[in-house]
Symmetry: C2
Subunit: 210 residues, 2 copies
Amino acid sequence: MAAWSERLAGVRGVLLDISGVLHDSGEGGGVPIPGSVEALARLKRSQLKVRFCTNESQKSRGDLVGLLRHMGFDISEGEVTAPAPATCLILKERGLRPHLLIHDGIRSEFAQIDTSNPNCVVIADAGESFSYQNMNKAFQVLMELDNPVLISLGKGRYYKETSGLMLDVGAYTKALEYACGIKAEVVGKPAPGYFQSALQEMGVESHEAQ
Amino acid sequence: MAAWSERLAGVRGVLLDISGVLHDSGEGGGVPIPGSVEALARLKRSQLKVRFCTNESQKSRGDLVGLLRHMGFDISEGEVTAPAPATCLILKERGLRPHLLIHDGIRSEFAQIDTSNPNCVVIADAGESFSYQNMNKAFQVLMELDNPVLISLGKGRYYKETSGLMLDVGAYTKALEYACGIKAEVVGKPAPGYFQSALQEMGVESHEAQ
């Protein structure tokens, strides 16, 4: 294996995931992964640019960063690429008014969005809010549209919490896709455009990042 | 269009769906579809054998038949092919002990089934019982199995109730399939084996039925 200095030749920036990389989420915000606070501090002291790219869609960026700072991580809101703000840009650009199937913890990110008379559905990791009633309401909204648009914040199958594996938004997106006979647009990893926007915000080209 | 007598030449039996054919389900058991009580009565007076083949998985056969009789339909429990009893046969044959993700209305059909230490998941149209917590529990059971078996009672996308369209079991089965990376076994229409067993119970060959 090549030395780190060799492997990092030409690399100007590092894009870090958050959940499962910095911490394991869970009750009370979860726990830091051993060594990750120190690793991030070292990266920040280096010449490399650092940015965070997450699919977190249960918490607002503010709440997420607050939790991580409390655990000792050197992180600020402006350094985080998250799917909810990216979705808000898309909604505004395309004149879309969403019905929101989301967790209450992220509702504040959509405060400036017109949700009257919806012409699309936005689905995020709603957790306990994935009730039958809420899923059925989103389904009915889609079925009433001539051109049903479903925007999914990520397409994860599941994630790990301190208490065990948890179903992620991707599973529920598949349910709506199947019921409505449509294909969702994914905002979040692994959509290439999402990584690109994170790189742009970091100010490096894709061949310069790791 | 050929006359009915011509079209029915060689036909010895008729397999009828229930929901959407005899009645529209909904609050208080739903409402009969106009003309269907009389049409069934005429069929029963004819030379044709009649059997019912449903994907109903929220109610036990007894409860379903009770509702339909109350609406005026000439129907008895023994004339109904339903996915829950068919599933029980499969579970017994293969020594499977299910974790049940089902509606309370159908739990009695599984009364004779060993559900201790589950080695498979059975999913039916659980309606309001499709909570995040219940879905996640079924997901966790599957993820803990070396050879995860998921049996789905039908794979309908949605059905119509008097109050509107409702998400059906197929959507939730897709969610679990995606999350676990597996394929469910379907007991119910449109699985050919399910139609075959209904025909067998009616005592006619597939080319003799309509």
